[in-house]
C-alpha cells in the first residue's frame, strides 16, 4: 500500500489529509491520474509529488510502503 498525503488547498478540496491506495508498482504519473479520477475537480497542473520526503520525477515508481505527498505550489517565508 501507498500512503498519500494532501496538504493545504488539496487537503481542503479532498476533505482528507491522507489516504491509503494500492498503487505499488505504479509511476508518479499514474498516481496523479488515480488522484485525478477520484477527485475530478482538482487541478494537479502545478502540483509536485514527493516520495518519502524527496521530490520525485513523474516516471519514478512507487514501492509498497512508500509515502507519496502531493505538494501544491509552496508559499512559505
Amino acid at each position: 500500500m501507498i500512503t498519500i498525503f494532501y496538504f493545504a488547498g488539496l487537503r481542503e478540496a479532498t476533505g482528507t489529509d491522507r489516504e491509503e491506495a494500492d498503487l505499488a508498482g505504479k509511476t508518479i504519473q499514474e498516481l496523479s491520474a488515480w488522484v485525478n479520477s477520484k477527485y475530478p475537480h482538482l487541478s494537479l497542473d502545478a502540483v509536485r509529488v514527493a516520495i518519502n520526503e524527496e521530490y520525485a520525477l513523474s516516471e519514478d515508481v512507487l514501492q509498497d510502503g512508500d509515502t507519496a505527498a502531493l505538494i501544491p505550489p509552496v508559499s512559505g517565508g
Partner: protein
C-alpha cells in the same frame, strides 16, 4: 532548538543569531519574515501556515548544507513557524554567520529564495471577506485565478 526546524511557538530570532556566532565570525545576518497587514491594498487579518514537517525540516537542513558548501566558513540556522500568526509576528528566521559580511548577506538571501521556491510550507491568508491558500507568490490574492483549482473557496 534545532538548527533547522519547523516550530509552532513564537520565534525568538536572537536564539538563532546566537547559535551561529563563533569566534571566527565577523558578520551575522538575521532575516525575519513578518506577517504584513497590507498587500497591495488588501488587508490581511492573520495568516495560517501549514507544513509537511519532516520533509520541510529535511529541506531546510539541505539548504544549510548547500550554503556551507557555496560559502565556505558560513554557519546557518533556519526556523519557520506554522499555525496561526498575527500581524507583525515572525513566520521565518534565517541566521547566517560568516568571517566576511558579503557572504553573510548573499547566503541569507539565497536561503529565503530557496525556501520560497521549494520547501513544503503553505500560507493561507485570512482577510475580512474571505480566505485563500497562497500558491504562487508572484501572484496577488485577487488575480490568482490560475490557481483556483487548488483554492479552498
Amino acid at each position: 532548538m534545532k538548527a533547522y526546524e519547523i516550530v509552532t511557538e513564537p520565534i525568538e530570532p536572537q536564539r538563532y543569531a546566537d547559535y551561529v556566532l563563533r569566534p571566527e565570525a565577523g558578520a551575522v545576518t538575521l532575516f525575519t519574515g513578518h506577517v504584513r497587514e497590507w498587500t497591495r491594498g488588501i488587508r490581511t487579518l492573520y495568516l495560517a501556515y501549514e507544513a509537511y514537517i519532516p520533509m520541510a525540516e529535511k529541506m531546510l537542513t539541505k539548504i544549510g548544507a548547500k550554503i556551507e558548501e557555496k560559502w565556505p566558513g558560513t554557519k546557518t540556522a533556519i526556523a519557520h513557524r506554522i499555525g496561526e500568526l498575527q500581524i507583525g509576528e515572525i513566520a521565518v528566521v534565517i541566521a547566517v554567520s560568516s568571517p566576511h559580511r558579503r557572504d553573510a548577506y548573499e547566503a541569507n538571501e539565497y536561503a529565503i529564495e530557496r525556501i520560497k521556491e521549494s520547501v513544503p510550507i503553505w500560507k493561507k491568508e485570512i482577510w475580512e471577506d474571505g480566505t485563500e491558500w497562497i500558491g504562487d507568490q508572484r501572484k496577488k490574492p485577487d488575480v490568482s485565478n490560475e490557481n483556483k483549482g487548488l483554492d479552498s473557496e
